[in-house]
Amino acid sequence: MSESLPYKIVIGLEVHVQLATKTKLFCRCSTEYGNAPNTQTCPVCLAMPGAMPVMNREAFQLGMRTACALDLQIPLFTKWDRKNYYYPDLPKGYQISQFDLPMSEKGTLYISDPKGRFEPKDVGIIRAHLEEDAGKSMHDEANGKADSRIDLNRCGTPLLEIVSEPDMSSPEEAKAYLEELKLILSYLGVSDCNMQEGSLRVDANINLHIETKNGKIATPIVEIKNMNSFRAVERALHYEAPRQYDIWQETGGVIGEISKETRGWDDSAQVTRAQREKEDMSDYRYFPEPDLAPVTVTEAQIAEVKASLSELPQQIRKRLQADYKISEYDAEVIVNQGQATVDYYEALVSKVNDGKLAANWITQGVLRILKEQQIEIDAFPITTDRLADLLSAVQNKEIDTTRAKDVFEKLLESETSVADMMKEMGIEKVDDSAIDSLCRELLEANPKVVADLKAGKQQAVGSLIGQAKKKNPNIDPGSFRKLCLEIVQSM
């Protein structure tokens, strides 16, 4: 094998997002997930002869919101097209989609990594268009049978297909793009983005640009499907890049000579595998959908949508850093949790007036509990009022941070106020004279420590703090330490 050549990874992503409309794109059936098969159907989504589609304006509106948030341009005229192919979960034999005149094109998405694994960049978005989802096929191969069952509840659910430019050059960037996109979609409230339920689906296109002695070459593009989480996307791409390099070393095949291949990610084996192309899938015979009128949009409508957009994640991150003097990292962690967490944080800050303190408690306390208990912030038992009371006690040195954490844990399980809880736990502020006398008592009993301290070994005070806490758990270690050192100095 020849020596390894430098290569650049080129990744583009196609994301299908189910839009959170109550009803389907072309009929009034419910889009709710998880109901008994084929209970959310009607002549339109069953493709009964003679039934005709009628566009759901709400879906178009959600598409416009997303397009505006991704800086996509919305043309004033857009139309529907038929994408023809046979599959049992596609009862019409065609999918209503958008081909040459999508509802939006040419946008960007900013990605960055607070951990600095890649340089921040704008990823281009080629287009975002609306289309209807297909039904679900379930293959029942038990008992040697090869039965397929079709559930058409999902058939006709509105999808927004968002196609990026091949602007990402590492699996980490791809993951960041997906996470930021998901975050934007959830801030917009246009989709619940639940990958397990299939409301967000990702296909990745990847190839390599390899520097050879004879110049740069590109390997054939591979499309990877069947990735059920962002982690799986990252892993699949990590697997695929060196695999493509090895294949190129073996065969020398480059783009143009070898056609695009579709591979599926096998999560249990952690490999990609070649997929058999569906029959006659290569030519979709697109043509304009004659059953639907083209959609026209006015500049005023676009302006209205833009004006109605709430603050987007990147804007909020910048604002939190500027307004509350918190780190990029903390802003990232809080904003990435979603709007409800941002709201919680801002409510807390307004009560304690210390952005950094509030951020620490949220990132290290609140979010840890949410993760452990698998709950959303809306279900978090400690209200901002109670947490603010606790933090104020810390600020007023009524309680030290370590004990405050104990209180925090107790607050999770009861609705008791912070003051009552502290009382219950025997926590009260120790007055200065009590600290003073305890300090002198312990110094007297530990001449070795006094000697060490006098010799400049400040860490020796630690053992005294330990003893003090045993005698009175309410002692604030900081105050105690400070006083000890003062007394020794004056000795």
Partner: protein
């Protein structure tokens, strides 16, 4: 005069005057079906019981002084391409032989609401593809004027049932001439409205951008009545025009002053039967005598209309008919037999070591699609699906479909230009009269040329009507076609009525033994 010889308008007069009941009228037409349809074969199904029930309901409401709809208990036949709730709707295809829609087409619902009595479903070319009704997989329809001749198509049953007095009113559909041509062949009045005037919801699509539902009747007056009942915007059909629908039955009787009529130069050229031409020119003279001015107009792109039509219509059809794949409804091949056949094929390949044969074998799903469609669809339908699949394919799309769309725009522009000069375009409906059954079955192209004068209206989306204007020496009806600008159905009906006031061709009926 017996009830079945009356027009719908006259029947309504008698019904509202209490001289006759809807049950009596309905029974009279059912009796005529009973006696005449054995020869004509216009109906695929007759809904006797529900028709009489509906009629009795109208009668009781009328008797009680309660409101009665516009069609007031007059029977209406429906082309079997429109969905009727709970009643089999076949498209004259084996594929849908047992299809029972759970819903009414909007037009059917409107007819019910207007108290039209639904008497039965009429025969047609399979999925409306054809011009003679010979492509029906479910039965033969004959021309009541000569049982050896075709009734035209695809709305052949719809035209024949009116001509043979089996229904006073009937619903047809027109994608390239399928109302006007059989109306011409059978000597009845048939109107193709402007695209969008009548809702297509529940009309089983052939070519969605061309299909339009319209009335067939004895007179323009009756056609106006039925059009009034079925037209109007429908939120279920995004392509239906959002405009108010005139009261056609009120305005049809108003004569048009200073009518400007255009004769299309291109409609009087090669291929036009001389007898048809002479008759049509006589009809034009009738209009002249009624005060109309006549001038020549040109539709220069008309010569491309057939070619354009036979790209656009099959393209859309290939997609519209994809749903008939045996998965969700419709005909499915015998699966057990199919699986056995596949296993046998596989074994044969294995034994002969034919690797390539093995590789190219159908999966059971693909074979099920292939075989179900092969069994369920007739030859003309298959021909058009293949044609349309080809014209939409990558590499051919620009040369065929896209180009056809461009020509279609030019055809529309021709009409726009012509209608700056004239109010109506008048000419023959078809190049010749009804031909003998079987005469063109082996020559699809000559069958396609039957649409020469009618397809342009579908491509341009304008309205057109065919009215009887004379007979050939062999006794076959000749149709006169009038075409009007978009949404000018009132004018079409008024001009037709003027002609029918001055002539009696529309009153002649065939004699069935």
């Amino acid at each position: 005069m017996s009830l079945i010889q009356l027009t719908a308008t006259d029947l309504l007069k008698k019904l509202s005057a209490g001289e006759v009941t809807s049950v009596e009228v309905t029974q009279a037409f059912l009796d005529q079906i009973e006696s005449a349809d054995k020869q004509v074969g216009a109906f695929l199904s007759v809904t006797k019981d529900s028709a009489l029930e509906q009629a009795a309901d109208v009668d009781s409401r009328r008797k009680a002084g309660k409101p009665v709809g516009l069609l007031g208990g007059v029977p209406v036949a429906i082309k079997d391409l429109l969905c009727t709730k709970g009643q089999v709707t076949t498209c004259a295809s084996k594929m849908l032989e047992n299809f029972i829609p759970p819903y009414d087409a909007t037009v059917v619902r409107k007819i019910r609401e207007a108290d039209g009595v639904l008497i039965g479903k009429t025969n047609m070319d399979e999925f409306a593809m054809g011009g003679s009704t010979e492509n029906s997989a479910l039965g033969k329809t004959s021309n009541p004027w000569n049982l050896d001749c075709v009734p035209g198509g695809s709305s052949g049953g719809a035209a024949a049932c009116v001509a043979a007095s089996m229904a006073p009113l009937s619903i047809g559909t027109d994608t390239g001439g399928s109302i006007r041509q059989p109306a011409g062949f059978c000597g009845v009045t048939g109107l193709k409205p402007t695209y969008g005037r009548v809702s297509r919801f529940g009309l089983i699509a052939f070519a969605s951008s061309l299909d339009q539902i319209g009335p067939m009747a004895r007179t323009a007056e009756d056609a106006a009545l039925l059009l009034e009942a079925i037209s109007g915007h429908d939120p279920m059909d995004s392509t239906s025009a959002n405009v108010a629908s005139p009261q056609f039955s009120q305005t049809v009787g108003k004569p048009l002053e200073g009518l400007r009529i255009g004769l299309v130069k291109e409609h009087f050229g090669d291929g036009l039967d001389s007898e048809v031409e002479a008759t049509v020119r006589e009809a034009v003279k009738v209009y002249q005598s009624l005060g109309a001015t006549i001038s020549d107009v040109s539709l220069p792109h008309n010569k491309y209309a057939i070619a354009t039509y036979y790209i656009i219509a099959p393209s859309e059809a290939s997609s519209n008919l994809a749903r008939y794949d045996g998965v969700h409804y419709g005909h499915r091949c015998d699966e057990k037999q199919m699986i056995e056949q596949l296993a046998a094929e596989k074994k044969a390949f294995e034994e002969s070591g034919d690797e390539e044969g093995l590789r190219n074998m159908d999966t059971s799903l693909v074979r099920m699609y292939r075989q179900s469609r092969a069994e369920g669809l007739g030859p003309e339908v298959k021909r058009r699906i293949m044609l349309g699949t080809y014209t939409l394919s990558a590499g051919y799309y620009d040369a065929y479909y896209l180009k056809a769309l461009k020509v279609r725009r030019l055809i529309r522009q021709d009409y726009d230009t012509a209608f700056k000069e004239v109010d109506l375009i008048v000419g023959p409906t078809t190049p010749s009269t009804a031909f003998k059954t079987g005469a063109k079955t082996d020559d699809p192209l000559s069958m396609y040329l039957e649409d020469l004068y009618t397809v342009s209206a579908n491509l341009a989306g304008v309205g057109g009507i065919s009215i009887p204007c004379g007979f050939s020496t062999t006794g076959m009806p000749i149709g006169l076609q009038l075409q009007a600008p978009p949404l000018a159905e009132e004018k079409l009906l008024q001009a037709s009525h003027m002609f029918q006031q001055a002539t009696d061709w529309h009153t002649r009926r065939p004699e069935l033994s």
